[in-house]
């Protein structure tokens, strides 16, 4: 099987699996306990935190561990909005965010916040200009993802962050779930206040994530309970997963420059071959901004994407329709619609995302299988609307 769904989840690194198992075996005590085994477990968490801090050039106290990307995003967004409500009632995000960001904002709208959803251009990129225009004196939070999880467009975080610097009362949250390990990230330089990471997207374990909370930023916690994680996230820490996540993070970031170079070549190779298939449209436009190196997204207008996914799987290739967190929902992709794509393209998207194990041969094989799949499906195309 060729697994091309790294954006949904990645095969954990062998070293991560060993770390997870060994820490689980040796350090079962509660890290908040007073006794020695507890103190040792706590020490491991603190070391993991220091490692995350060193990798990003920030302070250890600025990282908190969560249960994953969804919790990091929820805590950042709801926590900041509710904490700073007295400063203003307006929030800005984009129309192409992951469900865990988008739905958090929808919930805040029901709580009475005003939210502006800035759309992306047809290439998948949100313009910093549009973000600037959306901000008012009342804006307390701007949330923009670094890499879009469907089409892979890299958003102009540095530019938005630099501008937001002149607005100290507006916090800047960035969902970095799809970018860490693939692209360089400069939290300080880009003026980021809150940054979400998920471990299982970078060959770490599921059920653990990180949230960067710049010092001086306060959040209204989601959970009531003990004073874990600076009081921001009650609940006994998942020690083995946290240590394994710190390892995965180090492995991912240390090899990031090499990965970027290698994957960029693979991506170009795949895009070239897909562009040669006239039935398909490759989404995301490198001319309107940078594209993430590990994601290729295409539409087959007139074809239900589930059919393509199932056909490809029969041929030994695993890919996905939109985001895994929304893939069981068969309406057209909200993200593609927010990019202004027509209905038939938005309803027929297929995402290919790859990892370190893939070679040029794998890419060629994948392209060939897509080619024959399209040939097989062609007689079944439903032209004109493509509404399934």
């Amino acid at each position: 099987m060729l697994y091309f769904d790294h954006c949904a989840s990645t095969p954990p690194h062998k070293e991560v699996i060993r770390t997870l198992a060994e820490v689980m075996e040796h350090h079962y005590a509660n890290p908040s306990s007073l006794h020695k085994p507890g103190a040792e477990a706590n020490k491991l968490i603190e070391r993991a935190r220091e490692q995350a801090a060193a990798l990003f050039g920030v302070k250890a106290e600025e990282w908190i561990f969560t249960s994953g990307g969804t919790e990091s995003n929820n805590l950042a967004i709801k926590g900041a909005a509710r904490q700073y409500r007295s400063r203003g009632n307006h929030l800005v995000t984009t129309g192409i965010e992951h469900a865990s960001v988008y739905e958090a904002f929808r919930q805040l709208e029901r709580e009475g916040f005003r939210v502006t959803y800035v759309p992306a251009g047809p290439g998948g990129h949100v313009s910093p200009e549009r973000i600037r225009e959306a901000c008012t004196d009342d804006t307390i939070l701007v949330s923009v993802m670094h890499v879009n999880n469907e089409v892979g467009a890299v958003q102009p975080i540095a530019e938005i962050g630099r501008w937001l610097r002149s607005r100290p009362k507006t916090l800047f949250h960035v969902d970095g779930v799809q970018s860490v390990g693939k692209l360089p990230v400069s939290l300080k330089e880009w003026g980021i206040d809150l940054f979400s990471i998920s471990a299982h997207k970078l060959q770490g374990p599921k059920g653990v994530g990180l949230l960067y909370v710049r010092e001086d930023v306060r959040l209204d916690p989601l959970f009531s309970g003990g004073q874990h994680e600076r009081g921001l996230r009650a609940g006994t820490q998942n020690v083995p997963a946290i240590v394994a996540a710190a390892k995965a993070l180090r492995l991912a970031i240390e090899s990031q420059p090499l990965r970027l170079e290698r994957m960029t070549r693979l991506r170009e190779r795949l895009v070239r071959q897909l562009q040669a298939i006239p039935e398909l449209v490759v989404n995301g436009d490198a001319s309107s901004g940078e594209m993430a190196p590990h994601i290729v997204h295409f539409s087959y207008p007139g074809m239900k994407p589930e059919v393509i996914v199932h056909m490809l799987e029969q041929n030994g290739v695993v890919v996905s329709t939109k985001s895994a967190c929304s893939s069981k929902d068969d309406r057209p992709s909200r993200v593609l619609l927010a990019m202004g794509l027509p209905h038939d393209r938005a309803a027929s998207g297929v995402r290919i995302s790859f990892g370190d194990e893939h070679t040029e041969q794998d890419i060629d094989k994948l392209a060939a299988i897509i080619r024959t799949t399209v040939d097989t499906l062609k007689p079944l195309e439903r032209k004109g609307g493509g509404q399934a």
Binding site: H26, L34, R47, Q51, A246
Partner: protein
């Protein structure tokens, strides 16, 4: 970044006559150690100065690191040019243009250490200044209060141009003034005392008294953490002697002279520290005492406690206010650790009304009525566990744990 190197100026050691060479060598070692995490940066010494070539390393983190190296009076980010007029002029202009908000006034100060250079300093002031002025129309010369003063230092091997001088930590290079033992409690004061002693060139080894199980494992970790921070200032490594104090403390508590308990404990601690100092060939004991701060730090208590040892007792904080000490602790990065809420052996069994003016005769009589005390002190010294605390490592960790990260 326009600058390609840093010029480091030596502090008090320039007055040190015959020892100067040794001091300079030691300082260079300290700078090299401090730059260990910046592998491309390269430090070299010339007479009275050290140059750090950045070789592509970012300046700001190196600046922050160098601020903590003792023995430096100041340093300047600089740009090198060939000692030749055109090259110097280009570099001067590049520097003046590198300011994000172009300054309004400036002045050029030329020092011609290389006397073979064809133009005098005075001529160079004009030659460089005029060149910059021509190319940056909004800039004016102000020789009295310029926004920017551009220094041009002409040496035979090259010319160095710089504008700012960052103040260094001052003092003497670590370890050039002998060795002392620091009593490290885990509180706010003793790490600050240690830092001040280190700044004066004293090499330190720390002694900590623990009363497990009355004090916790975390209390010990806290002290290791403080020692680690001090190691950062002292060449990356610091020896920490952990003295088991439980038996002595419980014996003194049982003696039931509550108001003299702290006095008796402090005297026992000093005896132990003196023996460790002997073993480690240290010539002084450094404490965090600050006059009048607590009962054991009144003049009367200092007298009775201090008589225990014949070694010099150095008390860098003795005349400082608590708030000043706290500010220093924050600055040197020990405060957050010091305020962690773990009991140390001094807060334990703390008497309700300790004596502020203990009577030496009474204290000595009590001690002589405890014949077992000497043996217990010797046992504590023998039972002392010594660990080398490294800055930048997680301390003593097993290979297994290491492999998890």
């Amino acid at each position: 970044m326009i600058y390609d190197r840093i010029i480091l100026r030596l502090g008090e050691i320039t007055v040190k006559g015959r020892n100067r060479g040794r001091f300079e060598k030691r300082l260079l070692e300290q700078v090299v150690e401090a730059l260990k995490s910046f592998p491309r940066a390269k430090a070299t010494a010339t007479y009275g100065r050290i140059y750090v070539e950045l070789n592509g390393e970012a300046y700001e983190p190196i600046r922050d690191r160098l601020k903590d190296v003792f023995g430096l009076s100041s340093f300047s980010p600089a740009k090198r040019a060939d000692s030749e007029l055109e090259s110097i002029r280009d570099a001067a202009l590049a520097i003046m243009r590198s300011y994000p908000d172009v300054p309004r006034t400036f002045k050029v100060t030329v020092k011609r250490a290389w006397k073979q250079f064809p133009h005098t300093s005075h001529e160079m002031n004009h030659l460089v200044g005029a060149h910059v002025l021509r190319a940056t129309p909004n800039l004016k010369v102000d020789v009295h209060r310029p926004d920017v003063e551009l220094h041009v230092d002409i040496q035979p091997e090259g010319t160095y141009l710089y504008c700012e001088a960052v103040p260094g930590a001052g003092g003497f290079p670590y370890g050039t003034n002998g060795k002392a033992i620091l009593l490290l409690s885990g509180g706010i004061d003793s790490p600050v005392a240690g830092w001040m002693a280190m700044r004066k060139g004293l090499e330190l080894e720390a002694v900590h008294f623990h009363s497990y199980p009355f004090t916790s494992e975390q209390a010990k970790d806290k002290v290791v953490e403080l020692a680690r921070r001090l190691a950062y200032y002292g060449g990356g490594s610091l020896k920490l002697h952990l003295v088991p104090f439980t038996d002595i403390q419980t014996a003194l508590v049982r003696f039931n002279k509550e108001h003299l308990l702290i006095t008796l404990m402090r005297r026992a601690m000093l005896r132990i520290a003196e023996r460790i100092a002997d073993r480690r060939k240290a010539g002084a004991i450094v404490t965090g005492d600050s006059l009048g701060q607590v009962a054991s730090q009144t003049l009367g208590s200092m007298n009775v406690i201090g008589r225990t040892t014949s070694l010099p007792l150095l008390r860098p904080l003795v005349m400082m206010d608590k708030l000043e000490i706290i500010r220093m602790a924050e600055r040197i990065g020990t405060y957050e650790t010091s305020i962690l809420p773990y009991e140390d052996c001094c807060t334990l069994f703390q008497p309700k009304s300790p004596s502020t003016n203990p009577n030496l005769n009474v204290v000595e009589r009590i001690e002589s009525s405890m014949p077992e005390l000497d043996g217990m002190i010797a046992a504590a010294v023998d039972g002392t566990e010594t660990i080398a605390v490294e800055y930048g490592s997680g301390g003593k960790v097993g290979d297994l744990e290491e492999s998890w990260f």
